[in-house]
Amino acid sequence: MIAAVGVSVRVGGALLVDDVSLELGVGEVLVLVGPNGAGKSTLLGALAGDVAVAGGEAVLDGRGVGQWRAVEAARRRGVLVQQNSVSFPFDVRAVVEMGRAPWRGTDAEDEDEVAVASALADTGVEHLADRAYPTLSGGEQARVALARVLAQRTPVILLDEPTAALDVQHQELVLSLAHRHAGNGGGVLVVLHDLSLAAAHADRVAVLDRGKLVAIGPPAEVCTADLLSAVYRHPVEVFPHPRTGAPVVLPVRSREEQP
């Protein structure tokens, strides 16, 4: 659906993404993890067409992302970035309706109302529909921004830390929405910081470190104590969840000083 083929990104002399290849498959939730500054958001930006690649290519549905007209790309992939401020006091419904903009003048315009209503309901922001976006809390804004991306109804969805501002309930909600989208034949690429969340929900996990892809595969294979400890430069413990068996990842916590 969307793929990085040997992508490198250079910003001001620094190599932020170094020869990364990965592909998001149909029906898949692919989670991108890695320490701060590993290049996760930059890679997502390259796939979204925001960041110019220094080498390789980002490919969307068989063509380079830059070769699509903006509106054609917008009918194929939706993107949620980390910062989502809105300059003027639009109400929540208007913000979510903006997600329908790529479909203006097409047959899909008939779906507008349903798409907006179900996006509002799915993200649990229906009751906020008439509130002005700038008056919402950070977590509420994050869910409205996600609703906007869902309303766009694209096969591919790229999410950059969609759970950062959310409580436990809504973190799980976001990931279950990602799964539902993948189950309907879509594909979702998610950047996450919470390793247990990643291990529990990902079909595959990709681990980035200093711009390089160091591992990619099912959580059980990738989320090992050795690999994650090395990447995060902090001892990490991994053990199976007593009921589900999914890997639970926790940093080694001690009150004494680290070795």
């Binding site: 903006a70 790309a73 993107v79 208007a94 002005a132």
Partner: protein, 331 residues
């Protein structure tokens, strides 16, 4: 509903304004003249058609273009502080006007000052645009900062020209900068009208897409907006329209900033309504300001730019205070 109110206000203000002045005429006479019926007093008819009507029409055109360009600028930069002057239109036009005043150029006849002001306004705006581009994209902040730098240079050039010029030139520059629609003639109106029409038309075409820019450039691009092209269209429209307005009327501050805010407080931030409503609102506001400028002090024609700023400033501040909580503040 809002449009009905605005159109009514526009007609009322125009008719009253055409009748008012040192040589006062009843509203019924103005209406008769407009309906092409002869008036009893031929002098009154002459005054109406040669002086009052072109002046009223000019104030409507200038106000409309300033209002709509304010909405365009605020929308395309996603910034409630933006106004046409940000990209250097006004200060550039001032340089052009001052050049022709100080050096006494008259190669375009009566059109020399407005002609040069128009050209310099265009050139300045496009230099701001070109200078702020890097790797094919314009950042909002880099463009506004470039505008600040260019505005400073233009201000310095105007100061230098005033220093070089003689007493009479200085006086003319000062009055040009204060803004006025006093000298309006039909010939000026016919030149300005098509330029204003281009701006108005372009603004209506892009209005809907401006909503998406309030999400941010990246987000708008993700939703299929060709952000660079949209911004270029907006800047061309603003440059053409405001250069035309400024070149005839001088610098009229505040209309471009205030009108979109006033409209937004009534109808909300959606640009599909905001843009045309700002067009009408600007026209009404400036026609009213001109009426006030001509009639507030007997036998004096106050600079309209002074009137708009003097009344607009405190009024705007009061509105902001009142609406700050309701609008959720300005991010």
């Amino acid at each position: 509903m809002l449009f009905a109110v605005l159109v009514t206000a526009l007609v009322v203000v125009s008719v009253v304004s055409a009748g008012a002045g040192q040589y006062g005429l009843p509203v019924s006479d103005v209406v008769r003249a407009l309906l092409d019926k002869p008036l009893a007093d031929p002098f009154a008819e002459g005054a109406l058609w040669a002086v009052r009507f072109p002046r009223v029409v000019m104030s409507l055109l200038v106000g409309a273009v300033l209002g709509v360009c304010g909405a365009l600028m605020q929308g395309s930069f996603g910034n409630p502080l933006a106004e046409p002057g940000v990209v250097g239109v006004s200060s550039g036009a001032a340089v052009g006007a001052c050049l022709s005043i100080v050096f006494g150029w008259t190669f375009l006849g009566a059109f020399t000052v407005p002609g040069l002001a128009f050209a310099a306004g265009l050139v300045t705006t496009f230099s701001v645009y070109a200078l702020s581009r890097s790797s094919g994209r314009t950042g909002t902040v880099s463009m506004i900062l470039t505008g600040v730098a260019v505005n400073a240079v233009a201000g310095a050039v105007v100061a230098l020209l005033m220093f070089i010029g003689d007493q009479a030139a200085r006086e003319q520059i000062v009055f040009w900068q204060l803004g006025s629609v006093a000298g309006a003639r039909w010939s000026y109106v016919w030149v300005a009208l098509p330029l204003v029409a281009i701006t108005a038309l372009a603004s209506l075409v892009v209005a809907r897409r401006l909503d998406l820019l309030s999400l941010g450039d990246r987000q708008a691009r993700h939703l299929g907006v060709d952000v660079e092209r949209l911004r270029l269209v907006v800047i061309c429209a603003v440059a053409i329209g405001v250069s035309a307005a400024v070149s005839y009327a001088g610098i009229i501050s505040f209309v471009g900033l205030v009108v979109p805010h006033l409209v937004r407080m009534v109808v909300g931030p959606g640009h599909r309504v905001l843009v045309p409503a700002s067009l009408l609102g600007g026209a009404v506001l400036l026609a009213a300001a001109d009426l006030l400028a001509r009639t507030a002090v007997r036998y004096a024609d106050l600079p309209i730019g002074m009137v708009t700023a003097l009344i607009g400033g405190p009024f705007f501040f009061w509105l902001l205070r009142r609406n700050r909580t309701k609008a959720g503040g300005w991010a």
